[in-house]
């Protein structure tokens, strides 16, 4: 099955990716602008399921790594991603047949389509995370023992680094060091794999699912937040006012105190770069890997942690993780993976 995405689909994809970012994953607006630019003049991106590709097709996953502030200040160009794919293809000495999406939450849900458009390649309808996660090790491929390398890191001046071989955790550290050296943001091409591997281990259909989510969000305009939650297949955890923001300090998570308007519950939201845990009256109610989306209750625009203000009205939704993660992946993507101790009874309950 395949479908073509035009410029009209960009905003739905972007808002869906904004929800699935769980507060993290970078600014989808940058990706949306890049994709609109790539699809202008009637360009169409081809979206195919991994199982519909010839099994030996080489799929390379593309994304943007780096600090959101740097990205916002100097948006990358589509060529950067094409360069990263080319550099990795050179290292692989193989022809790349399709582009894969590494995470369906946030900015990186849109970047692969930009790269694919420049390279004239199809994009696989699926991803490796089912939402946004901060580390490249938090993928279904890594959970199955598939390496992230060889990978290519390409800076805005086309400076490129090839990481030939590394464990997935080492690859993450080496990538971060190189991204810093390349100016704080860089295009990455990684997790090269065959289409049949992806068909077996990836999370299928998540790009379409993300667009559907964005569509549902757009269709709910003017309706109530609880109505929205129902349409998104999620749960409205609270609608209320932010009373205190305690920012994160390094790896120590920050927290929000929210007053639930209707029920009068005391609600705490723990966060790092993304929203991780909701505690109602001191007892955990929802936590990673579930997606926690903080929205403006009127416009339904996602509010990332760094845009929160004291006194602000918010709606907090829990969305289920895209299906397909294997059992036993909790350690890789649960609260513990974010350095929040699972020794808390409220987390182990």
């Amino acid at each position: 099955m395949e479908r073509y995405l035009g410029v009209d689909d960009v905003s739905a994809l972007a808002s869906g990716a904004g929800l699935l970012g769980s507060g993290g994953g970078g600014d989808v607006a940058v990706g949306a602008r890049l994709l609109r630019h790539a699809l202008q003049d009637g360009g169409r991106a081809r979206l195919v399921a991994a199982e519909d590709l010839p099994p030996e097709t080489v799929v390379v996953h593309v994304g943007l790594a780096g600090a959101p502030d740097v990205v916002a200040e100097r948006p990358p160009g589509g060529e950067d991603f094409a360069n990263a794919v080319t550099a990795l293809a050179g290292a692989l000495r193989q022809r790349v047949g399709a582009i894969g999406v590494i995470e369906i939450g946030g900015l990186n849900a849109l970047i692969p389509l930009v790269a694919a458009q420049v390279l004239g390649l199809p994009v696989v309808d699926g991803d490796l995370m089912g939402r946004a996660f901060p580390r490249i090790s938090q993928t279904t491929l890594a959970a199955a023992g598939h390496p992230a390398t060889p990978m290519a890191v390409v800076g805005p001046a086309a400076d490129s680094v090839i990481i030939e071989s590394a464990s997935v955790d080492a690859a993450d550290r080496i990538m971060r060091a190189n991204v810093a050296a390349l100016g704080g943001a860089a295009a990455v091409a990684l997790y090269p794999c065959r289409a049949d591997t992806l068909a077996a281990l990836g999370l299928p259909g998540s790009v379409s699912g993300c667009i559907a989510l964005g569509q549902a969000l757009a269709d709910s305009a003017g309706r109530s937040v609880s109505d929205l939650a129902a349409r998104l297949g999620g749960e409205l955890l609270c609608e209320g006012r932010v009373d205190e923001i305690r920012p994160r300090r390094g790896d120590i998570p920050g927290s929000l105190t929210v007053t639930d308007r209707s029920a009068g519950h005391i609600l705490r939201l723990d966060m790092l770069d993304e929203y991780l845990n909701v505690a109602v009256d001191g007892v955990s109610r929802a936590s990673a890997p579930d997606v926690l989306a903080v929205l403006d209750p009127v416009t339904f625009a996602p509010v990332p942690p760094d845009r929160l203000r004291s006194g602000q009205s918010i709606a907090l939704l829990r969305l289920p993780l895209m299906p397909g993660w294997p059992h036993g992946a909790e350690e890789l993507i649960g609260l513990a993976a974010f350095g929040i101790d699972s020794g808390r009874p409220e987390a182990t309950r």
Partner: protein, 519 residues
């Protein structure tokens, strides 16, 4: 004493100098919570944290969300308050709100050495415990020289500043003013118990058990002045400490009683064997036992015919006490010798009693039997009045014969006088005669099956009691008015005059015949 037993509240604790730099950041409504102990929190809340002031190591409540989780757990564990250091990350607003809502005081202290603080506060908080330990020490010191129940109870009462009782195994008072126990206390369970708290205080009971026995031989009881838990615990501990002293007293009492009973039993046997001639040795031993051999004597022989006794109520000392009090109530005061299956009693007087005295004694003995526990099924015999050591032997033998006859009756309790023996034998022969049986069938026919045999039984007892309404009432456990009412019905149904001796005799014979048949 009372004031010091009250546990300190969080509010009171805050006035301690060591907490001068501490402030309440949340949960003010919980400041009245009682602090019973302290614990040091490093990530694990102990299961016994109920009533504890939990001092939190800074690293155990960082990041801040950990404190919030702790507040939640503190509430379910019944923690009195949490103490954190201001050097740690300040609590989240959500944590403060949660603590407010759950009324868990969160105290924050600036620049304190938490270990030192923990140490000092522990001494303060454990003051009631120290006080209890002092009380126990006091009790032990006071009891150390006490050997009698009166002294032990008095010392205990003084130490506790509250009333203390010694109760028998069935709850009747042995020492102390009379005490009615609440029905919630189960004296059949040999465990310390206490009544429900009430403003007038709680009654506590502690079993006194003898070695090798699972039943309580007696109970120590005390009533607290208030309903405070600490007071109850202190009283319970004091009773437990006093229990071995009471047990020792009880055991020595029992040993003495057994020694006496062996001594008296042997002496009595020697006296009776002497057949009117008392040797010098016997006279001396009788003198040391306080027996006045030269007086006039009326012997009473009591036999306990119940096969199975209730072990809880049938120990020899308690039984003897019950018998003595029943005898004293009827002014029958004299030596009592325990013979195992019953008792031998005789009444001595310096002057010769009138010949009607035997009758008076029989009446009194009937009343005594009515007062003894019915399940003993006691029968008694009364001898004639005799003089001197030989006379004592005679009257006791007569009493035994009379008791043996009384034993053949089907009803209990039964008492016979030796003077009636000849008559009784005559009657016994008659009871077998065909004529009498036929008469009994006819005469008592109107009572057959009426009220489940109640009327017949009343008639029997009334006639055996010599026509005494009050004795009949006591034997049957009825009010005398009920007895009178039943007698009235009897007269109506039988159409006889119960005051006519002839009629009475005929009816009594008929009753006995019926008894024999049923037996």
């Amino acid at each position: 004493m009372t004031a010091n037993f009250t546990p300190v509240s969080v509010r009171e604790l805050l006035t301690e100098t060591v907490l001068a730099c501490a402030g309440v950041v949340a949960g003010r409504e919980g400041l009245g919570r009682e602090v019973r102990d302290l614990s040091w929190y490093t990530g694990e809340l102990p299961t016994t944290a109920n009533g504890h002031l939990v001092v939190c190591a800074a690293e155990a409540v960082t990041p801040s969300y950990r404190l919030e989780a702790l507040v939640r757990r503190a509430e379910s564990a019944g923690v009195a308050a949490l103490l954190i250091t201001a050097e740690a990350q300040s609590p989240l607003l959500s944590t403060l709100r949660l603590a407010d809502r759950l009324a868990i005081p969160v105290l924050s202290i600036v620049g304190a050495d938490l270990v030192d603080l923990l140490h000092r506060l522990t001494i303060r908080v454990r003051a009631p415990e120290v006080q209890r330990a002092r009380l126990i020490e006091d009790v032990v010191r006071r009891l150390s020289t006490k050997t009698t129940a009166e002294d032990i109870l008095a010392a205990l009462s003084l130490a506790l500043s509250q009333a203390v009782w010694l109760l028998s195994s069935d709850g009747s008072t042995i020492h102390g003013e009379s005490l009615s126990l609440p029905s919630t206390l189960r004296l059949d369970l040999t465990v310390p118990q206490h009544s429900d708290p009430s403003p007038s205080g709680q009654i506590l009971v502690h079993p006194v058990t003898e070695p090798g026995s699972t039943q309580a031989a007696a109970w120590l009881a005390s009533q607290t002045a208030g309903s405070g838990e600490h007071q109850r615990i202190a009283t319970a501990s004091a009773l437990a400490v006093a229990e071995p002293y009471v047990r020792a007293w009880l055991t020595s009492q029992r040993a003495a009683a057994e020694r006496d009973s062996v001594f008296h039993g042997r002496l009595l046997a020697d006296l009776i064997a002497g057949q009117g001639v008392a040797s010098q040795d016997v006279v001396e031993r009788a003198l040391s036992a306080g027996w006045r051999l030269q007086d006039w004597h009326v012997g009473i022989h009591l036999i306990r015919t119940a096969r199975l006794g209730d072990p809880l109520q049938d120990d020899p000392v308690t039984s003897m006490r019950k018998l003595r009090s029943a005898l004293e109530a009827q002014k029958l005061v004299g030596p009592v010798v325990d013979r195992g299956d019953g008792w031998t009693v005789w009444i001595s007087s310096a002057t010769e009693p009138p010949s009607s005295d035997g009758r008076r004694v029989l009446r009194s003995v009937r009343l005594v039997l009515a007062q003894l526990p019915a399940h003993w099924e006691v029968v008694a015999g009364v001898g004639r009045v005799h003089h001197g050591p030989g006379g004592l032997a005679s009257t006791l033998l007569e009493a035994r014969d009379a008791a043996t006859l009384a034993r053949t009756h089907d009803y209990r309790p039964a008492a016979e006088h030796i003077d009636e023996l000849g008559v009784a034998r005559l009657l016994a022969a008659w009871q077998d005669s065909e004529i009498l049986r036929a008469f009994a069938e006819t005469a008592l026919a109107p009572l057959k099956g009426v009220d489940g045999g109640q009327l017949l039984r009343t008639l029997q007892v009334y006639l055996e009691a010599g026509g005494s309404v009050s004795t009949t009432g006591i034997v049957l456990g009825l009010h005398r008015n009920t007895v009178t009412a039943r007698l009235h019905r009897l007269r109506e149904r039988l159409g006889v005059d119960l005051d006519d001796p002839n009629q009475r005799l005929a009816l009594q014979l008929a009753c006995r015949t019926i008894e024999t048949e049923h037996g």
